[in-house]
């Protein structure tokens, strides 16, 4: 088991390094002089050369990369935001927790609603309940999150005036964004849970469980649910990065000062260092979630972590 975890961690590290190099190289892939990009569009021409040395852009690529990486890991130094004139980390420091809070809450609420619904649909397949849920999900997946956010805003913030339009002060600010996020993610989780539960219900070991004399409730919980959870949990971890990137739009619409909003603004204002830092953080988070989900998968499913032994063939 330990070997499995270490192996996953190792691969994750390698992946992180590769991706970090990709993100680092963004600076050089973009059209234009790296100095201008880093310094921002308002830089004066005569300062370019001195800035180039200051940013260390005259050094070889690998040296720059290592330097960049070490600065980030050990000093949390992502550079300076040209627009706000402060170091990028302080911007991130404030916005990351906000985004994380929102996404994690959304994920939990979404799971709490979707998983039982999916299981019920599987158990009551082809009944009215199932058909209504499936068709509703089908429509829900067609609704883009930005439009949903706008419509919710229209109904609840403007017409009914129940919730504020934007900002981030009280819990009332959270309701609409989280609702948008939850509704957006429900459909796919319900469908996945249902499909997985159906597969498990069809398995012969469920018949064996009944044949042993176990009652329905025990079979459903100990055998069906436990086995369905494997896929469901993996899906949970994998949804987090997807959710974070989806939240970019929601934060923008509701004016929430999270990482997504920061990133979009920085793209528009060409504040390169901030964009680069955001991308790096989100990507690192994604890889971490991948690793975590693999580890949890190893815990939940013995087939993954144990190799088949010989036996008395």
């Amino acid at each position: 088991m330990r070997k499995y975890i270490l192996k996953r961690l190792g691969m994750g590290m390698v992946l992180l390094l590769c991706v970090s190099f990709l993100v680092f190289s963004m600076l050089f892939l973009m059209p234009g002089d790296p100095v201008t990009i880093m310094a921002g569009p308002l830089v004066k021409a005569e300062n370019l050369e001195s800035l180039r040395v200051q940013y260390g852009l005259d050094r070889p690529l690998m040296v720059q990369y290592v330097d960049w990486l070490t600065r980030i890991i050990f000093h949390r130094d992502f550079g300076i935001s040209y627009k706000y004139r402060i170091d990028v980390w302080s911007l991130l420091e404030n916005s990351i927790p906000i985004s994380l809070k929102l996404t994690v809450t959304t994920l939990i609420i979404s799971m709490v609603i979707a998983v039982p619904l999916g299981l019920l649909c599987a158990y009551k397949k082809d009944t009215l309940f199932d058909r209504i849920t499936v068709n509703t999900s089908l429509v829900l997946t067609a609704i883009p999150s930005f439009w949903l956010a706008v419509i919710l805003m229209l109904i609840f913030a403007i017409k009914l005036k129940w919730f504020p339009l934007s900002g981030f002060e009280t819990w009332k600010n959270y309701v609409l964004p989280i609702s948008t996020g939850v509704v957006g993610g429900l459909a796919s989780t319900i469908r996945l849970t249902k499909s997985e539960a159906l597969d498990v219900l069809r398995e012969k070991y469920v018949t064996t469980a009944y044949a042993k004399g176990l009652d329905t409730k025990t079979v459903l919980i100990r055998h069906v649910l436990r086995n369905s959870l494997i896929v469901i949990t993996v899906n949970l971890f994998m949804s987090l990065p997807w959710l974070i990137s989806g939240y970019i739009i929601i934060e923008r619409i509701f004016g929430i000062p999270g990482m997504g909003n920061l990133m979009i603004n920085s793209i528009i204002q060409q504040d390169f260092n901030v964009v680069q830092a955001c991308i790096l953080i989100i990507t690192a988070l994604t890889i971490i979630c991948n690793i975590l989900s693999d580890i949890v998968l190893g815990i939940l499913d013995p087939r993954i972590r144990i190799s088949v032994t010989g036996g008395d063939k």
């Binding site: 069809r202 012969k204 064996t208 939940l300 036996g311």
Partner: protein, 324 residues
């Protein structure tokens, strides 16, 4: 002095399918006595597996129509509620399945899965685990402790089937239903499993309902046999009756189709045609389209059951005589 343990009386099982109802089992009646091995033999799709699953109401789709009586120890378990059936499953009647890998849950150890059933009888965890080890030894599983703590995919096919047997014998049922228990295993393992089944009958007096399409197995192990075709029992009798004195054309053809060692037998006999699709209610005998003796009456009238002796009967219009 044998007594009746299980008696099926006029059992019908229909599946609901897209274009109507599929008649999987039609008017099946037979009796299994205590301490005997009763084989049900027939080709794939003849309904034998359906009967096995129906007895414990383990059919997966929940959209079947079951008519008739299933008497177990005198009570009609077909009329039992789900709760009542739960008390029979595992305790009075056990069932092992064809493919032991699929039939075991991959996320729990084999020991846990066997103990799970034992603990239904209000046994402590430690005691249950001890019983598991003892059971594994009884079914000649090497290295019982290690196997109990292993997961199903870590064991070989033969070992897994032993786990299944241990699991279903754990509460000493009176009847063990074995649905093609050795089909997925290789021949040497098959011999060992068969020995275990024989031991059950000899040492413990457990009855076994052996479902198979392998006539060779039947010859080796069974006391009495029922031959099924297209959902009906076409002939039943002791194993000697069936092999030495088969009456129904299908049985005769099956026995003829068994490969023999002598060269003089000639080419292997096959049976032409295919099993009819059973959604339409066809009058007459279901074997008619493949039967070398088919007469006009076979198309129109359902054959009655003719009795040869106390145990031996068959369902055909033919009287004595009729050679191949």
């Amino acid at each position: 002095m044998s007594e009746e343990l299980l008696r099926l009386k006029n059992l019908y099982v229909d599946y609901k399918v897209k274009d109507g109802y599929l008649s999987a089992v039609k008017n099946v009646s037979f009796t299994i006595e205590k301490g005997e091995i009763y084989a049900i033999v027939g080709e794939s799709g003849c309904g034998k597996s359906t009967i096995a699953h129906t007895i414990l109401r383990l059919l997966p789709d929940h959209n079947e129509i079951i008519k008739g009586n299933i008497f177990f120890n005198g009570e009609d378990i077909n009329k039992f509620t789900e709760k009542q059936l739960e008390s029979i499953r595992g305790k009075e009647i056990g069932m092992i399945f064809q493919n032991p890998l699929d039939s075991l849950n991959p996320v729990y150890t084999t020991g846990f899965q066997v103990a799970e059933g034992i603990m239904l009888d209000n046994v402590t965890k430690e005691e249950a685990w001890n019983r598991v080890i003892k059971l594994y030894n009884d079914v000649k599983m090497s290295d019982a402790e290690k196997r109990a703590e292993s997961f199903p995919h870590e064991l070989s096919g033969g070992m897994r089937q032993r786990v299944m047997i241990a699991m279903m014998l754990a509460r000493t049922p009176k009847l063990l239903i074995a649905d093609e228990p050795t089909t997925a295993l290789d021949v040497t393992i098959e011999a060992q499993i068969l020995n275990i089944i024989k031991k059950l009958r000899d040492d413990f007096g457990t009855s076994v309902m052996l479902i198979t399409h392998n006539f060779g197995l039947v010859a080796e192990v069974a006391d009495r046999v029922a031959v099924m075709y297209a959902g009906e029992v076409v002939e039943q009798g002791t194993v000697y009756d069936i092999f030495d004195n088969p009456k129904h054309p299908y049985t005769k053809l099956l026995i003829k189709a068994l490969p023999r060692i002598t060269k003089t037998e000639g080419r292997l006999q096959t049976i032409d045609g295919t099993v009819p699709r059973l959604t339409e209610i066809i009058p007459g005998c279901r074997f008619e389209n493949r039967c070398p003796y088919a007469m006009d009456i076979c198309k129109e009238k359902d054959p009655e059951i003719k009795t040869v002796n106390k145990f031996h009967s068959y369902r055909c219009h033919l009287h004595e005589g009729g050679e191949i």
